[in-house]
């Protein structure tokens, strides 16, 4: 055999051996992918739209049996589409598109308001454009119609544009609070019969949405329930103005009445968006809920609890440069594990790296809010694109890596219409069981 042939033969054999020995292990990428700081979740199979998946997000408590580390509901904003997303302890996600006659009956109208009913394993859903309320049994993923015994009249449009649940009266079952464009209904102690504020209360605490508001602002109005007042629980409902300053009305509830407890007026005359978003959190770590009021596109205000109607905000968080809809989404979560919750402020219209409308979420560390601390960090989609509207929805996901869940991690949950993002590494430790 001639020398060149021998050389070629040797090279061939050597390269084959080296190649086989140095072969690439693609499983490394699976491992790395599981270690990715952020979990991006696409719409599950059967979901009606892949680009309109997580416009509305509702983190809910994970099951007590530890079968999942976290749950959240995601809803489309343009059509009927509801999914329950489950996260495993290792951080893997699996989505389930919810179906059923109750959803079919919506006729394509979206669920734009969602609230977890504490302690029941269910959530209350509002489909205001269809004037409908639904409940979903999370463990069985059963969606049912909630049929209140109230007349559906033209004077009470967009019933379900805002929903909330919480114990307002001290009874066994939590109260359900449902807002329409002009009224708030409270269903006390599991009743389907509501109580409403009186006309006088509504005069003191006006909540009628202006018909001049954009449709987006009229599809999901801010409504929270919590220990807002020194006297006890209250309902806070935001009422942004079309061309006038918005407001936040506070109502207290008894077994038979919903009463105006005061009003938080927009601090600036230009705050027409004041009250468009609300979030409850203990930002200063004093154990008393504080109220975060969004006034997009310019500011977010912090009202330290207990609230004093008519008081000025504790802190004003101005929109950073490049923002376009700062404060369109709000959430509070103790992300870093330190004292005080962090404020998650979404700006789906923000320009990121020159990409208009890519959107971002700014996290403000709780105790520093009052001192106008420099916000860190700013969350964006790592592969952002223009018009992505990242930050359309934000939430605080309760993540229990192991059962029983003693100290759950609170993870930022950010929604963009096409995806939902869960951030695992913003805290001191990564809660995933890697």
């Amino acid at each position: 055999m001639r020398a060149p042939v021998k050389l070629l033969l040797g090279a061939c054999g050597a390269m084959a051996v080296v190649a086989l020995a140095a072969g690439c292990d693609w499983r490394e990428f699976d491992t790395l992918q599981n270690q990715a700081p952020v979990l991006a979740i696409d719409s599950p199979g059967g979901f009606p739209s892949s680009s309109d998946f997580a416009g509305v997000l509702l983190p809910v408590a994970p099951p007590a049996d530890g079968s999942s580390a976290a749950w959240f509901l995601a809803s489309a904003t343009e059509t009927t589409g509801l999914a329950l997303v489950k996260l495993s302890a290792s951080g893997g996600a699996s989505g389930l598109t919810l179906t059923g006659p109750a959803l079919d009956d919506l006729g394509g109208n979206p669920v734009t308001a969602m609230a977890e009913i504490p302690g029941t394993g269910t959530a209350l859903l509002g489909a205001p454009t269809f004037h409908s309320l639904l409940t979903v049994e999370l463990s069985t993923q059963t969606v049912s119609q909630f049929i209140p015994s109230l007349p559906l009249t033209a004077s009470d449009p967009l019933l379900g544009v805002g929903v909330a649940a919480g114990n307002l009266t001290g009874t066994t079952a939590p109260e359900l609070v449902v807002a329409s464009s002009s009224l708030v209904h409270v269903f006390v102690d599991g009743s389907t019969t509501d109580i409403e504020p009186s006309a006088g209360d509504l005069t003191s605490c006006p909540i009628t949405l202006s018909s001049g508001l954009p449709n987006h602002d009229r599809s999901n109005r801010a409504l929270v329930v919590g220990n807002l007042l020194a006297s006890g629980p209250a309902i806070a409902i935001g009422t942004p103005g079309a061309a006038v300053p918005g407001s936040v009305s506070l109502f207290t509830v008894t077994a038979s009445a919903v009463s105006c407890a005061g009003l938080l007026a927009a601090p600036a005359a230009s705050d027409s968006g004041f009250g468009q978003t609300l979030a409850l959190g203990d930002f200063d770590g004093d154990g008393v809920p504080d109220l975060l009021v969004g006034a997009p596109p310019s500011r977010v205000y912090l009202y330290r609890g207990p609230l004093a109607p008519g008081a000025a905000p504790t802190a004003t968080i101005p929109a950073p440069l490049g923002s376009a809809a700062f404060g369109s989404a709000l959430a509070a979560a103790n992300v870093d594990g330190a004292l005080g919750d962090e404020a998650l402020i979404g700006d789906p219209g923000a320009t990121v790296n020159g990409l208009t409308g890519a959107g971002n979420v700014t996290i403000y560390t709780g105790p520093k809010l009052a001192t106008m601390a420099v916000p860190t960090p700013v969350l964006t989609d790592h592969e952002a694109s223009a018009g992505q509207a990242y930050g359309s929805a934000v939430g605080a996901l309760t993540f229990c890596g192991s059962a029983p869940c003693v100290v759950p991690a609170r993870l930022p949950l950010v929604g963009a219409p096409a995806k939902a993002f869960v951030y695992f590494t913003l805290g001191s430790t990564d809660p995933r069981a890697l």
């Binding site: 070629l8 054999g13 190649a19 690439c24 693609w26 990428f29 790592h382 995806k419």
Partner: protein, 538 residues
């Protein structure tokens, strides 16, 4: 081809030995081609040539008389043959028969005796057949048939004229009318005669030439063309030879050999008379052996054998080396001393070979070589002599699979192996496959490099706290690249393995069929001596 050249060279040497010696001694004695001293032969020759002249003219009667005259001068049977032929041509079959019979009587062992007897049978039948009735006399003044003119049916064709179908040879003058021959005006047509019997046909015939060879002294051995074909006769000799040039060699013990080129013809009498000159310069050798037919070489083997045992011939005086070779015997050589002008006899005894032989045959072995016990044996196809015992054989040829075998070789046994070499697959395909493998593996390495880049980038980002998500395109690209690299590696490895296999791939084994032949010796008794004959048993 080599054998032919060797024989030619041997002939040249033999001729050189003889002719060279002849020229070398011209000063001492030179052969003289003297006029034959036989006046009768000269007269006979003159008469023969005259007869041929008449024969050619068609005057066969006169030609016959002249041939007879020649016979009367020198009673060579060939003259009688020619007399008979002339009479047959002259349509005198009775006389033709008479002289053919005399010819056979004079030379009953003539080479054409059988044909002459057949001819006599035909002539006898023709003579026994009554002549057909004359239906229509030929017109007065009709010209006689001339040579070359078409013969009438039943008439022997003139020389050179085409024979008519069913032509026979009736008695002269008894010709039948030719179809279409004009009849006398007013003659009535003859009544229909019975159909004539079918007559036998005499084939065309020609006279014989004659070669007369004589020498002084008489008794010299005559060789034609080549001594290897053996003695043709001894002088004086006369007879007919084929009409083609022939080399005539005369050799006599104690006399210088002579050769002449002659061209015998059927119409010529060639008279060769050579007075041999005494040769005292050359020596005369007679080589005999216990083995008949052994190849004999003198002084040089490279020009081939000049004869076979037993051998006689003249040789330059001095020392010479005689080589004898015969398959089955040990080659031998012997120095001999040839004194001038004397005859020496040498009896060489050949010993049976103690070895065995291996013969490699087969068309496909052409251009290969035989390796015996890891040493070059011979260029195939070939035969080698080997000591008895076990031998490892390897027949190799470029581009073909080796043929290997081990055989036990017995004494006096020739093992002939017909080897069918099997072509080795081309390495070109393997080389191209190896190149493809390298390209694929190279592509795999590049894709793997890209994958590793993505992996390292991701690791770096994760380690540095970059908030990349699991949907980062680098996960997908890196994974696909890793899989792609592994697939390419795998394919490349398979292709490389295929290439490696191709490099070492063997075609069908070369095969061989062995035949064992036992070489035996048997006593042989021949006209020129006795000896041992070599034979094979298969």
């Amino acid at each position: 081809m080599t054998r032919v050249r060797s024989r030619s060279a041997a002939l040249v040497l033999a001729t050189a030995v003889l002719v060279g010696a002849s020229f070398g001694t011209s000063a001492i004695a030179r052969a003289a081609e003297e006029a034959t001293p036989d006046k009768a032969l000269n007269d006979a020759k003159e008469a023969f040539e005259t007869a041929q002249t008449f024969f050619v003219r068609g005057e066969y009667d006169t030609a016959a008389l002249k041939f007879l005259e020649a016979y009367n001068k020198k009673p060579y049977p060939a003259f009688l043959f020619n007399v008979a032929v002339s009479y047959e041509k002259a349509k005198q079959l009775e006389k033709a028969k008479e002289y053919f019979e005399r010819y056979l009587k004079d030379d009953p062992n003539a080479s054409d005796a059988a044909q002459v007897r057949l001819r006599l049978d035909v002539i006898g039948k023709l003579l026994a057949t009554p002549p057909p009735p004359v239906a229509t006399p030929t017109a007065p003044g009709a010209p006689p048939a001339t040579p070359g003119a078409p013969s009438a049916p039943g008439t022997p064709p003139a020389p050179g004229a085409p024979s008519a179908p069913g032509a026979s040879a009736p008695e002269a003058g008894a010709s039948a009318p030719a179809p279409g021959t004009p009849t006398e005006p007013g003659a009535s047509p003859a009544p229909a005669a019975p159909a004539p019997p079918v007559l036998p046909v005499l084939p065309d015939i020609d006279t014989k030439g004659l070669v007369v060879i004589d020498s002084k002294p008489q008794g010299a051995t005559i060789y034609l063309n080549d001594k290897r074909s053996g003695p043709f006769g001894k002088t004086p000799w006369h007879g007919s030879l084929e009409s083609k040039p022939v080399r005539l060699i005369l050799e006599s013990k104690g006399w210088k050999a002579e050769d002449r080129q002659i061209s015998p013809r059927s119409d010529k009498l060639i008279d060769i008379y050579i007075a041999l000159s005494e040769e005292h310069y050359l020596g005369w050798i007679e080589i005999s052996s216990n083995v008949v037919g052994a190849d004999l070489f003198i002084d040089r083997k490279d020009i081939g054998a000049i004869g076979r045992t037993p051998f006689t011939g003249q040789l330059k005086p001095g020392k010479h080396t005689i080589f004898l070779e015969k398959f089955g015997y040990q080659p031998m050589q012997q120095e001999i001393d040839v004194p001038a002008g004397t005859a020496m006899q040498h009896n060489l005894v050949m010993q049976k070979s103690q070895a065995g032989w291996i013969s490699i045959t087969g068309k496909t072995t052409q251009g290969g070589r035989l390796i015996v016990d890891e040493k070059f044996g011979c260029a195939t196809p070939c035969r080698v002599e080997l000591p008895p015992g076990s031998h490892k054989l390897l027949v190799e040829k470029k581009g073909f699979e080796d043929y290997e075998t081990t055989l036990e070789l017995g004494q006096g046994i020739e093992t002939s192996i017909e080897v069918q070499m099997s072509a080795r697959p081309s390495r070109g395909h393997a080389i191209s496959t190896a190149v493809v493998a390298l390209v694929i593996i190279g592509a795999g390495a590049y894709v793997g490099y890209l994958s590793n880049q993505n992996r390292d980038s991701l690791k770096s980002d994760i380690a540095s706290g970059q908030l990349i998500d699991n949907g980062d395109s680098r996960f997908t690209y890196g994974k696909v690249e890793a899989i792609g690299a592994d697939v390419l590696y795998g394919i490349g490895a398979i292709v490389a393995a295929t290439a490696i296999y191709g490099f070492f791939e063997h075609g069908p084994d070369s095969t061989g069929v062995a035949e064992h032949r036992s070489i035996t010796l048997a006593p042989l008794f021949g006209p020129e001596g006795t000896g041992l004959a070599l034979g094979g048993r298969f």
